[in-house]
Amino acid sequence: MIGSFAMLVVGAAVVFLLLHAIPGDAAIAALGDSASPDVIAAFRAQHHLNDPLAVQFWSWAQAALTGDLGQSISLAGGFSTAALIAGSLPNTLFVGAYALILAIAISLAGGSIAASRHGRIEDVLATSGAIVTISLPDFWLGYVLVLVFSLGFGWFPAYGFTRPGDSLAGAFHSGFLPALAIAVPMAGILSRMLRATLLDTFRRAYVVSAHAMGFGRFFIFWHYVLRNALIPYVTAIGLQARYLLGGVVVIERVFGVPGVGSVMVDAAFARDYGVVQGCAVVFLLIVIATNLLVDTICRLLDPRRTA
């Protein structure tokens, strides 16, 4: 717990220093080509951009400790960082969860079929399908999906995302293509690893003895094999959390999903350091939380670990 907290503080400081090393500042970003020297000076003074870095970080950290992530100055002036995150994080989480569910569904089916039909045509198909999907750049896949399913068949909107808060059905509909573009390569990774661990478990002593004791194939698969194979599988899913949060920025751009990754990128371009830092802290919190969640699930799956 203390370690995680220290990580947060150090993380925030590192991000802060990194951002301030970037040339240009919020004044240039907010004022654009209207930025005459006097206006820039006024802007900097108003937002304390001339203060020493240590002072700036300290005032940010003090506020952050009380849960106040500050206000945007050049991304969406006056909006609180918390509001910007609250407006975009649900979209990211929705599309991420959507993609994860699709990826899990595809990989569970693909991985189990491949493992249980080991060496046969189904295995070959699933395995080669998986490795092909891993090799596709996701944003490229995104454009191809738009071309086929939106502009071709007209089944899905070509651009834009309905927030789950506005219409859940709309969110599922408009979020399908981005979720699929994210899910497909991920499903490839997950099904490959599920297949490998399943094959490994099949040969474990307790499974072999269960066979010898005459339990049914399906019973053994469900109770002995899958349960044990799920532990590395869940761990692998946990590792994807980082990607789902911030790695999908390009996909968000292609489909117009207003996610937190896009906010962070726009904020970085606008040199809105407070917002980038706020997002970074939230990212770190979520990654820490995901790790805890994964550990808990693994513990639940494996009774031996509870001790």
Binding site: P23, G24, I28, A29, A30, L31, G32, D33, S34, A35, S36, P37, D38, V39, A42, F43, Q46, S72, I73, S74, L75, A76, G77, G78, F79, L84, G87, S88, V146, S150, L151, G154, F156, P157, A158, Y159, G160, F161, T162, R163, D166, S167, G170, H173, S174, R253, V254, F255, G256, P258, S262, V263, D266, F269, A270, R271
Partner: protein
Amino acid sequence: MSISRRHLLTGIAGAVATNAAPAGLGQYAYAAVANGQTLRAALTGFSVMNTLDPGKAAVNPEFFIIWGMFNTLVKFDAGMKVVGDLAESWTNPDPTTWEFRLRKGVRFHDGSEMTADDVVFTFERIADEKFGSPVRKRMATVTQVVALDPYTVRLKTDQPFAPLLSALTNTRTSTQIVCKKAVLAMGNEQYGRTPIGTGPWKLKEWRPNERLIFVAHTEYFESGLPRCGALEVPLIKDDASAINALAAGGLEFVNAVPYGESDRLQHMQGVTFSSVPGLNARFMALNIQRPPFDDVHFRRAVSMSINREAFVQAAVFGQALPSQGYIPKAIGWAYDDTPHEYAQFNPVRAKEELAKSKYGAGTEAVITGFPDAWWTRMIEVFVDMSNNVLGVKFRVELQDARTAYSRWTQNDGQAWSMGWIALCDPDEYLFDCFHSTGWRNFSKYNNPALDKLLEQARQELDREAKGGPLYKQAERLIADDCPSVFLMNTFSNSAVLAKVKGFEHTPYDGFGAQLAPMSIS
């Protein structure tokens, strides 16, 4: 009354039609507005806007929105002539005094009436140093603003200032009239997020980085406008995606069509494509303080090595006019179309000038630009052409737009691929950028003859007859020295679904200002 009832009826009919449109964009606003059509107009190429307070606004996307929410004293019509907006008429009792007679019964979004008091407040706010408006310096020439009565305002300037009227139009001027009561009640910062104006569209919700949602201002002073009951503006960074959404029926209007898509959209079923010469200048700004562009012969050589007709075809697929100066064709009275020697493609003369310069073939230079869609093309084609003709070794260096621009303002670098967008007065183009005291004159170009000419033009209240020739002459003086390589004046290309009626294209890409008369049939 009868108008609004008819409006309501067509609105209901239209709502059924809107309902059938594919989901995604616009679903939400439709659900929220039961009594009218929702116009979905995409703002493309941008995803960030920082404020909707006219006095504070600085970058284009902010103004694009502000134009639909506010009005100014006067405005440009589609032919770039100044006509009344909130002011019905105006007079010059003497060259430094301007009297504006205001419209009566104009209502702000909060229902209060707009009077001379609000106008005075708007200008005093801009002049307040503490407020920090980007146009404070520019408006500093206005020394006094008084309300003679609730519907008459008098502006006094320190000297005759002909460009004043342009600075009062509904363009990138920051002189949009704000609501005094609302500003004082909520404070400047809050007002930037929830502004109250007199314009046809009333802000309902601003979702940063995503979209803005508006409802019609039912008490708008131009009767029958706006024709749609609601407006939704998604911010689409990638303009190719916006065209996809338009083609799939998820949008009614796209303000900036990517140049590469223009010819395809001209022939697309169900889409009306519209193109006018825009209010902009695209050029390579040169650092005249540093080698190699400190040598006028070298600059001329580079300028003459560019075949601007071919350049326009290659860089923007023909969607521009070749240019030889800053002032765009849309400002017809100041636009100079007599060919200037150094702006004409002439490889032989170019090499002669190169021979006269301190630098020869093989000279290296870095051209800084930024990687936004066709901007990269512009710089790549430029480098390709001058390298081929002169045998010089120019190289492209891309940085993010803010870094590149801020380096230009500090004169840090050798050359920059740049453009001015939506500046509406010749004085803004020439005085600000090339007068020795101009604040956009980053490379410190100094030409006393030009300074005199531009100062004289500011005093000339009869702009078309007397100011025009001065600006044309100034452009020729600048072109002699080539402090920038002027390249082109791009078209403003918009696309609107054919079922949308009432679209009138303004040269200044007047996004928000064009939406009120649009209706969906």
